[in-house]
């Protein structure tokens, strides 16, 4: 059968010399779910932007139904029946669901926006494709999974035959992923074609018919989903065997950090989290599980000293952290890898060397008589760049020029250059490629083996399951379950607690909280 959409030897070089696509081929047949996988920076997003008209290729051609087409902007791609759902949703928060769906192609009645027809069309679409959403509430009030459905409806409203989903599962809880897959299957059953960008391999294998693997701006190959395994795909993606397995802790040490009856409130006075009680021992990793926005991030901020405590106490090796400043906490051996490396982890305009000593300006080695010791700072940077294999132009380059994975390594290098006693980690590998992920995981377990107590929060359940020795689940600002990690513990089990669908009996929770 002739392919529906083809991209033939696409080349794209960004101003600045980054070669994003170099001879990329993609061939998608009608009515299939076609996954495009690859590490971050492999060129998937660029390829999709070209298919959707956001970027124009320097070389190569796109064929739709066998005819050569070129899209100067997304509008033209939409007119040709291509729709795209981005990872960051393009929805106006205060607009209702139906307003968002029809925005840009509104049904009209004279010069008037025909609201009734818009609502009816959206209802009809959501029934037809099994994407249940109420058209009336403002999208800002909907959970992420529903917002994603609104995005898909938007594309379908514009008669998309081909739907590109850019990392659609990254923001979803496991149950929501299942619902998405139901919708994707419904789409394909009704003759639509889905291109699915992803890097979580189990999901890719579950949903797709064919898989195209990209690496370093090139296509490595296309395979049928049923012919490959997770391992062989991973090898294709990275180009070498990689083991995403880590050693568990050998045994835990003394109690390092204890949180007692902690309550956190937002500036508006709303309670974010309450009744938080937990203990972390040195030499163990405690995973904080929960859909984002259930209090995990705020707990880490509170321990780091970035958020006041409304009530309760936090002890680090017997010292109450409450009255201590951020700097004093760091002197007690606290280190923190924050969620957002660009906004909070780094000063992107400053050099790598400066970033690497930013938390140590009281240190006599780097600052003498109130003046920076540039030579020592540079030497420090060179040794850390070596030790953490940060790929960069050198210590004098701005941190913002690095790729996501290398930026994150700079943060990790700074926080782990001295062995911490308590390490707070939030989303350590978000938007980081597999190679760097492997390295960062290794760094975290090394810190743990060196005697750090680690609190780890991540949106990626497989990461939490791979690294944690114990896990606690947050739901609406409370700890609702606790587990000692084992091979029997699955993402699905955690998911039911994350969504508040099941609750744990107090006995087993208490046992796992110790």
């Amino acid at each position: 059968m002739a392919p529906l959409l083809e991209a033939i030897s696409i080349g794209k070089t960004y101003p600045g010399g980054t070669v994003a696509n170099d001879g990329v081929n993609l061939s998608v047949s009608a009515g299939e779910v076609h996954a495009v996988v690859g590490e971050n920076g492999a060129g998937k997003s660029t390829l999709m932007k070209i298919l959707f008209g956001i970027e124009q290729p320097d070389r190569g051609e796109i064929r739709l139904d066998g005819k050569v087409v070129s899209f100067a902007n997304p509008r033209e791609a939409i007119d040709h029946g291509i729709g795209m759902v981005f990872q960051h949703f393009s929805l106006v928060p205060s607009f209702s669901v139906y307003e968002n769906v029809v925005l840009g192609s509104e049904p009209r009645n004279g010069i008037k926006f025909d609201r009734r027809e818009a609502i009816e069309k959206v209802r009809a679409l959501s029934e037809k494709f099994r994407l249940a959403v109420d058209p009336l509430p403002p999208v800002g009030q909907l959970p992420v999974g529903q917002q994603q459905r609104v995005e898909i409806l938007k594309a379908l409203y514009r008669d998309a035959r081909i739907l590109i989903l850019d990392e659609p599962t990254a923001v979803l809880a496991p149950q929501e992923v299942e619902e998405l897959f139901v919708a994707v299957r419904a789409l394909v059953a009704q003759g639509r074609t889905v291109i699915f960008i992803a890097h979580k391999l189990p999901e890719v294998l579950e949903i797709s018919d064919r898989i195209t693997v990209m690496r370093g701006g090139k296509t490595v190959g296309s395979v049928n989903a049923r012919d490959v395994t997770e391992e062989s795909l991973a090898t294709m993606m990275v180009g070498r065997e990689i083991a995403l397995r880590v050693e568990r802790a050998k045994g835990r040490g003394e109690l390092a950090c204890e949180v007692k009856a902690l309550k956190l409130t937002a500036e508006s006075g709303v309670t974010i989290a309450q009744d938080l009680n937990l203990k972390v021992h040195s030499g163990e990793i405690l995973g904080l599980v929960g859909v984002e926005g259930n209090g995990q991030a705020e707990l880490l901020e509170a321990i780091a000293g970035l958020r006041p405590l409304a009530d309760g106490v936090i002890y680090l090796n017997g010292t109450s952290l409450g009255p201590k400043s951020v700097l004093e906490r760091r002197e007690l051996g606290l280190a923190s890898i924050p969620e957002d490396r660009i906004a909070r982890g780094l000063a992107t305009g400053s050099t790598i060397a400066e970033n690497l000593v930013a938390t140590r300006l009281a240190d006599k080695r780097f600052v003498r008589n109130g003046l920076l010791d540039l030579k020592a700072i540079k030497a420090n940077a060179l040794s850390l760049i070596e030790r953490f294999s940060i790929r960069s132009g050198g210590p004098g380059y701005a941190a913002g020029t690095l790729s996501g994975g290398n930026m994150q390594k700079v943060v990790v290098a700074r926080e782990l250059s001295e062995q911490p006693k308590l390490l707070l980690v939030n989303q350590p590998t978000r938007g980081v490629d597999l190679g760097a992920t492997q390295f960062i995981w290794k760094s975290l377990t090394d810190a743990r083996d060196g005697g750090a107590a680690v609190l780890l929060s991540s949106a990626d359940l497989s990461e939490l399951l791979a690294l944690s020795d114990r896990l606690i689940v947050f739901y609406r600002g409370k700890i609702v379950a606790a587990f000692v990690n084992s091979d029997d513990l699955t993402a699905e089990t955690l998911g039911t607690y994350m969504l508040g669908l099941s609750s744990q009996d107090p006995e087993s929770m208490r046992a796992a909280l110790q």
């Binding site: 902007n73 997304p74 509008r75 939409i78 795209m84 981005f86 960051h88 393009s90 929805l91 106006v92 928060p93 205060s94 607009f95 307003e99 968002n100 925005l103 840009g104 192609s105 509104e106 009209r108 010069i111 008037k112 926006f113 938007k154 937002a266 508006s268 006075g269 709303v270 309670t271």
Partner: protein, 316 residues
């Protein structure tokens, strides 16, 4: 004090309020449109000033409506100028706005002196025209309420009536037409309309043009009705008060009208008070509208903050 109350509750005071409110209303509607499109127009002041002078000079040679239209055109062109610098050349919108204001302060004085042959203060020696007042004397014939209706409704500038209509028109545009939806979407979250194929920059540019045109009507009303003729810096901060009215009016046309009315009332008070309280220095009285603006905005942001807290509390 009694005298003040008597004055305030007279029909003449009401007519004064409508007069002082009209320029503020147009400027506030203009500010509202550009603010909702995501471009804060701080140049309302300068746009009004330039439009006022343009209207005055044109009215010497042409009928009043041509003069008003030329004021509108002047405002719209300044809006287009801002759009060019902000959207094409990527200059900061606030800085561009202030540049227009500075241009207006100096440029109007320069143009005024050229037009009048050397007078840098007023256009008193130019025979400029006025916007006609709408005479509704026939209302008097209605039994009982006739005379009151006449004294309340007759004698307003034709532009004041246009202003009331514009409140409705702007509301209808913003909340009942697809383009209004586009405009609000562009202002709130530009990535969404962009992904839907809506030309974001174009929407903003037209909003700025419309904003300038509305401010231009305000300027024409000021120099062709509230005062006949141009005086240097005659807008006296009205453009900024109008911006305050946009916020105070909760970014809604009707709200903006009510806020403009509030500021108009205090401006009218500043007009009538010197006659009643000659022991208060005139300058003190003239500060009233500005003090009220500041107080109103403080109160507004305090209440908005409280409302946010209540909202989040009730959600939990």
């Amino acid at each position: 004090m009694i005298e003040l109350l008597v004055t305030v509750f007279s029909a003449t005071f009401f007519v004064t309020v409508v007069r002082t409110t009209t320029p503020l209303l147009f400027a506030a509607l203009g500010g509202l449109i550009s603010d909702l499109s995501g471009a804060l127009n701080v140049a309302l002041e300068g746009m009004m000033l330039i439009a006022a002078l343009t209207a005055v000079i044109v009215s010497v040679y042409a009928p009043w409506y041509v003069a008003v239209l030329s004021g509108v055109a002047a405002g719209a062109m300044l809006g287009a100028l801002m759009a060019f610098f902000h959207l094409r050349l990527k200059a900061d919108i606030i800085l561009v706005g202030f540049a227009v204001n500075i241009l207006a302060t100096g440029g109007t004085v320069f143009a005024l002196s050229r037009a009048t042959g050397g007078d840098k203060g007023t256009s008193i020696n130019l025979p400029s025209k006025a916007v006609p007042a709408v005479d509704l004397s026939f209302l008097e014939a209605i039994p009982a309420v006739g005379p009151t209706l006449k004294s309340l409704l007759s004698g307003h500038s034709i532009l004041s009536w246009l202003g009331v209509f514009m409140v409705f028109a702007v509301w209808y545009f913003l909340f009942r037409t697809p383009y209004g939806l586009w405009l609000r979407g562009v202002g709130e979250y530009p990535a969404a309309p962009e992904a839907a194929g809506i030309p974001v920059a174009k929407v903003r540019a037209w909003s700025l043009v419309a904003s300038g045109a509305l401010a231009g009507i305000g300027g024409a009303q000021l120099a062709m009705f509230n005062y006949i003729g141009f005086t240097r810096d005659m807008t006296a901060g009205r453009g900024f008060i109008a911006l305050g009215a946009v916020l105070l009016g909760a970014r809604h046309p009707v709200g903006a009208m009510l806020a403009a009315l509030l500021f108009g009332i205090f401006e009218a008070l500043a007009v009538v008070m010197p006659n009643l309280f000659n022991w208060i220095p005139g300058e003190m009285i003239q500060t009233i509208p500005f003090v009220v603006t500041v107080l109103a905005l403080i109160l507004f942001s305090y209440r908005a903050q409280r409302a946010r807290q209540m909202r989040t509390l009730s959600k939990i």
